[in-house]
Amino acid sequence: MPRKLVHVVMLLALVLSIVPVAVVSAQGDVSSVCLVTDVGRVNDGTFNQFAFDGMTRAVEDFNLDSTFIETQAPTDYESNIATCINEGFDIIVTVGFTLADATRAAAEANPDRWFIVVDTDFAEPLPNLVGLQFRDDQAGFMAGVLAALMSESGTVAGIYGIAIPPVVRFRHGYEQGVAYANATFGTDVEVLGVYIDDFQAPDRGASAAEQFIGEGADVIFGAGGPTGSGGILRASQEGIKVIGVDQDEYFTTFGGGETPGAENLISSAIKRVDIGVYDMIAAVVNGEGFPENSVHIVEAANQGIDIAPPHDADVPQEVLDILQMIKAQLESGELETGVDPNTAEIVAPPGPPAAVPEATEEVSG
């Protein structure tokens, strides 16, 4: 009996010792950030790494404490987030659509902490929760314009992964980009595409690439994780021009020029996860808080969408100039892709925003 009492007292002491920490951090300024990866590591060349880079930069700029947890299995999401909370971190960054539910639950239970989720959006907003949503369509759009301008055969193609919203946005942006080039720069290019129901099947991506080449495609865009990379790798080795996705694939898939075919990688459609994470940490530290609708849109206008340089590939200067112009127009809002970022569907032809309002009205209303 006394022993049990000791246990209870100890436990109480333990609980009490934690509570003050939490209270203090809630009252004090924001001073620490904790990052939970999706299954993977902070140096694995995927979103995990970019989010980590963004956090690291914010930590240096704002002089914050930080740590990270590398998730080993999907079953650990909740407990990893709980660890961050229990250790008293103010801002918790979770990387990936798959952690959205667990993060939302934690945000509801901990209104005194800030939660940032990469690559998702939330239907019901919470003041302490934000999802980073990327305008993949803008990145795809630039890739589409580039593909159309570089094509000699008049056929370009895209290899996509599972048809989830980010992938669909890439595809529709790409197709709109080709349409825009046809209308504006006088190209006459047809665009083909396949969804492959698996992100981890590079061999099937490669087989899609072979078929596209057989159909006469001479520029191929791969937007589907390793499946898409497998596709552009095969195509590049067959001498076909290719465009990568998410990050500059020159440094990942093509090993910084080590991999054969690197001379055919003309660009990559980039989404800057690091900038999105940095901006949201900055918003909390500066006391602005998150956007009211719990969605932070990462787009050309806030430097979050980019198109990679050609590196070893041979792309004429006038094409690069056109790309810079398009990027500037997307940035300033003079040019719209015509893809609705929420539904990922094409709602209007690409062009100046004047043509778009009706369609956007309709969707938001």
Binding site: V194, Q200, P202, Q211, F212, G214, P226, S229, T259, P260
Partner: protein, 451 residues
């Protein structure tokens, strides 16, 4: 247990009772299928591409009729009047063939002859289905037929190798559902070894060392399977499942430890163009212009067939798989035979794994075999545990996978989710409709215990 059922079957009196069910024969089911396909062909082309249809944006000939262009290579192509082709083929081959198949059979020689004609007719319909569906899907466009077959063969490679691996194990009486895991191990370990030796040896040597490591690691997993299921007589399904799960964890661990930090380029095995033979039109491109493991598939196929059916080892293996007690009585060491066959099965599966990482992609991703080992098992059953049958099964699955992609490329007006189902629908239809009863080796799956 095994012998009891056999005697029961042999002793069963032969009773001939004809019910309505007996009139539903396999050819008749296919006849109905083919009539429906024929009707669909004729109706869809006439309504979509007939005289009244809107043909804007489609290729047409001088007479203004929709054409399909099948290209074979840069210079050879074939132009077909889509509507005429589909109507003629639909009526003459499919509808007429189906009707003949459904006709009641007169007794005697005429009936038998009619049966034989129907069988060949339906067989031709089956073969003809491939080009026909392409011609209709690509109406008003051109599409490359050679590449479709080429990429089918490519996608079939791991499936066929998986099926051959299964045949070695199961013919000796050990169920091997761990092929998937063995392949994944091969893919992972092979690529890790290639990465580790990169820089110290020339790239091509490194790749071949990787392939060797892949084969050996497949063999290692097989040794585990053999040890558990033959030596310790664990349930073979349990042991196989354990290996599948273990392979997932092991390779994903290796990838994180070694591959993430490595800077090696993503090289793959060299394409080998066999001189003279590769210049044969169409077939040359499909069969004689490939990478090493692709060729190895054919060598393994022929070797498996010869060893199983024309050598003493093959005869003993089959005996052990059918009736280990009898084989034991005749002085065959059953356990040793099974051990060796399971090891060979693993070595072959490891080679199949190398196809993924070292021949096709030049990288390793978690779970990159994505079920191809299991489809290989299905191909093995499809082929009734015969090497060439399994090859046919593998090619069929590879083809339907490629076809699903091609339909999407051609913008066939079906949601892509359904097109992605193509391989699985084909699997079901073929397994249920075409293969019929597949009889495994009698002692398959039963651990051997000396009496």
């Amino acid at each position: 247990m095994v012998s009891a059922t056999t005697t029961a079957r042999a002793d069963a009196p032969i009773i001939e009772t004809k019910t309505w069910r007996d009139s539903i024969t396999r050819p008749r089911i296919f006849s109905v299928f083919f009539i429906l396909i024929g009707l669909w062909m004729v109706l869809s082309v006439t309504s979509n591409y007939g005289a009244d249809a809107d043909l804007s944006g489609l290729d047409v000939n001088e007479a203004g009729r929709v054409i399909t262009t099948l290209t074979f290579n840069a210079t050879q192509s074939l132009t077909i009047d889509t509507v005429t082709y589909a109507t003629v083929v639909g009526i003459v081959f499919y509808i007429l063939g189906g009707v003949v198949g459904l006709l009641p059979r007169p007794a005697g020689e005429l009936g038998q002859r009619l049966d034989r004609v129907t069988k060949y007719w339906l067989f031709v319909n089956g073969i003809l289905f491939i080009p026909t569906i392409m011609i209709i899907a690509a109406a008003g466009n051109s599409t490359n037929f050679t590449v479709l077959l080429q990429t089918s063969m490519r996608l079939a490679t791991p499936i066929v190798i998986g099926a051959l691996s299964g045949i070695w194990a199961e013919r000796s009486g050990v169920v091997n559902i761990a092929i998937e895991g063995m392949m994944l191990t091969g893919a992972g370990v092979g690529f890790v070894v290639f990465t580790l030796v990169a820089g110290t040896v020339p790239t091509s040597t490194g790749l071949w060392l990787g392939v060797l490591a892949a084969v050996l690691s497949g063999g290692f997993m097989a040794a585990l399977h053999a040890w558990l299921s033959i030596t310790f007589r664990t349930d073979q399904i349990v042991s196989g499942t354990v290996i599948n799960i273990m392979a997932l964890g092991l390779t994903s661990f290796l990838r994180r430890q070694v591959l993430l930090s490595s800077e090696a380029g993503r090289e793959t095995l060299q394409q080998i163009r066999i001189p003279v033979l590769a210049d044969i039109p169409i077939l040359g491109e499909i069969f004689f212009n490939g990478k090493p493991i692709f060729y190895a598939m054919f060598i393994l196929l022929i070797a498996t067939h010869i060893i199983l059916f024309y050598t003493r080892w093959g005869l003993r293996t089959r005996a052990v798989g059918e009736n280990p007690h009898a084989a034991d009585t005749l002085g065959i060491n059953v356990l040793r035979n099974r051990w060796i066959n399971v090891l060979i099965s693993g070595l072959i599966a490891g080679l199949g794994g190398a196809w993924f990482s070292l021949e096709t992609n030049g990288s390793f991703e978690d779970g990159m075999t994505s079920g191809r080992g299991f489809i290989g098992l299905a191909a093995m059953i499809f082929g009734k545990w015969m090497p060439f049958g399994a090859f046919g099964g593998g090619v069929l699955f590879g083809f339907s996978d490629a076809l699903g992609l091609r339909f999407q490329i051609l913008n066939v007006n079906i949601p892509e989710q359904f097109l992605q189902m193509t391989p699985f629908v084909v699997t079901m239809v073929v397994l249920a409709g075409l293969v019929g009863k597949a009889t495994p080796p009698k002692a398959d799956g039963i651990p051997y215990e000396k009496e």
